[in-house]
Amino acid sequence: MELNGAQIVIQSLKDEGVEYIFGYPGGAVLHLYDAIFQQDDVKHILVRHEQGATHAADGYARATGKPGVVLVTSGPGATNAVTGIATAYMDSIPMVIISGQVPSPVIGSDAFQEVDMVGITRPCVKHNFLVKDVTKLAETIKKAFYVATTGRPGPVVVDVPKDITDPRIKVPYKYPKKVSMRSYNPAVTGHKGQIKKAVDLLLTAKQPIIYAGGGVILGEASKELTEFAHTLGFPITNTLMGLGAYPATDKQFVGMLGMHGTYEANMAMHDSDVIIAIGARFDDRVTGKLDEFCPNAQIIHIDVDPASISKTVKVAIPIVGEVKPVLEQMMELIRESKKKPSKKALESWWKQIDQWRAVNCMEYDRNSRLIKPQYVIEQLYEVTKGEAYVTSDVGQHQMWAAQYYPFDKPRHWINSGGLGTMGFGLPAAIGVKLAFPDSEVACVTSDGSIQMCIQELSTALQYNAPVKIINLNNSYLGMVRQWQEFTYESRYSHSYMDTIPDFVKLAEAYGHVGMRIDKPEDVRPALEEAFAMKDRTVFLDILTDRTENVYPMIESGKAHNDMTLRVADGTSTDRELA
């Protein structure tokens, strides 16, 4: 088959099994758009801003496990995509971004809409390619998908100069079934000796904890993790990125750990003697003060990326490999082993953990006349029966969503953890809804974040992707306000927005339903009403208590056992529990 470069790109995507391209046209990609026009296997979603394209593709990827695909033009189209590429990179999300480039002969001449996309994205992609030869185009695209989806996943940019897609130049096309690269061979199974050592250590642990992260979700290993935890009977905590990797309603789950994690999770980490870290990367939001991180623990770390291991925290037993096969290898040894975890030790460990649980760190004032954001999330959980896909933006609302919506299944909690990108939530929700049109998709957001990609409301209408926007409107950049309250004696420098649009009218202007809720008793009925409108995007503008803070909190530079908790009567004064 002979195809021109533009057709090769589209045909390659088809052969790769791509369902959706999220994109925005422009000069350098006109040939590609013409090729898109002439087929309907790969559907193109026209966003309203290239950042929206990257987040939508990212949301699609997080929910499905399949790589998200983005198409943007050169210059401003490419630079607009960078925030979304970096967002995916930080959370190890597989994406392939095809960017148009000026024609090869004029590269480097400051041509119209030229930017060095390969140079700009180098620090925030897993890899990137500049295509120089149309005969290598299909193979390059195959490599891009291969690199994006294997090992530690991540975004890959393919920069395609306009002459490469010239419709007049046809070359033989064959999409490779497989590619191999001598320079890229990610590990799959773990080293047997290391695994044996790890199992021996686990079976002698007295105060163990499983610390599991996003790698379990990326590696499709929730089932294996659950079996592993149940067999050992150990407490388990998840990172923000790991939520849903282990069922949150299971009794062995002690909640999220880290800066806004539960008291029990952080105390258990601090007092543990053995930690097994599974697909988690010891982020600074998790470890707190490094010198005082888990002082008595011996650490086992499973990660497919050797560079994640012993990066910030030195570990005793590193295991390089994918979570799923490594957990299977471990389970085999555990089953064969005559040794069993000490029942007595575990019983007293659980007793201790239950005492920490009794502190009830997630309690808040349920009698307030104002709408408490935590209450909204709890109601959202009930109305959606815990089964919705929940995307979020970045800020206090993100933490409340993570804390008060217990996720039992992987890939249902979709948020930007590593880069913390405001504006992520709405386009990501659209990507998720397109992937799962029959599932409920809620975007938990706030007045600041939602305005960063609000234009995508228009995309949601055009492509019939009805999502429910839960706007926890506190009139503040709440997370910033909270830090200013805690560390800058309440000098609220530029964290208050004097003018906020009428979101109800705005939603209506975009062709959607808008609702404003300002009384606690209206929250539940409004949510029910909104979710009953299956085919409409509903914007719920919920006016919440503006002064509410996220608790518990490990303030920066503090250790896990030095958390600030909310006082029991629900007022917002802090109490030090050390």
């Binding site: 620090p123 890899h127 500049l130 690269m181 001598r182 320079s183 050797p306 560079a307 012993s310 030195k314």
Partner: protein, 163 residues
């Protein structure tokens, strides 16, 4: 400690900037970097001299290995190896100093590869420390230019960096 990291990398445009970019983005120290093609035109070999604690060197090698274009690398400091650097020094000469420079160059096994009425160019190879010693031995005021390639290295015996 000082480490010499040898890297086999795909001979693709941009490969050098990936390595250099990694060092600047992650704040690693880089003392010198040399690159050239190998007997296999699809591969380049880079030699990179860096300093850092064991933990930092471990991260550096992991991060380098993580670059998709990097095929293989070794830390030469881990085993017995030979280190060589090429240097050319242009020195201002007078009737009186020529003899002394010639004999000094001979002691360091240097060669005089260019002569004008007022200058010599001395070529010298060796471990970087030897080149440092030569520079220290000649009168600093007479040095016009120094150009050094940065060290390259190879391990002894069967061990080594090849596919």
């Amino acid at each position: 400690m000082r480490h010499i990291i040898s890297i086999l990398i795909e001979n693709e445009s941009g490969a050098l900037s990936r390595v250099a970019g990694l060092f600047s983005a992650r704040g690693y120290n880089i003392e010198s970097l040399t690159v050239a093609a190998t007997e296999d035109p699809s591969l380049s070999r880079m030699t990179l001299v860096t300093r850092g604690s064991d933990d930092i060197i471990e991260q550096i090698t992991k991060q380098l290995n993580k670059l998709i274009d990097v095929v293989k690398l070794i830390d030469l400091a881990d085993s017995d190896h030979i280190e060589r650097e090429l240097m050319m020094v242009k020195i201002r000469t007078t009737e009186q100093t020529r003899e002394e420079i010639r004999s000094l160059a001979a002691i360091f096994r240097g060669k005089i590869i260019d002569v004008t009425p007022t200058t010599y160019v001395v070529e010298m190879t060796g471990p970087s420390s030897k080149l440092d010693a030569f520079i220290a031995a000649i009168d600093g005021d007479t040095i016009i230019e120094v150009v050094r390639s940065g060290p390259t290295g190879i391990s002894r015996g069967e061990k080594g960096l090849h596919l």
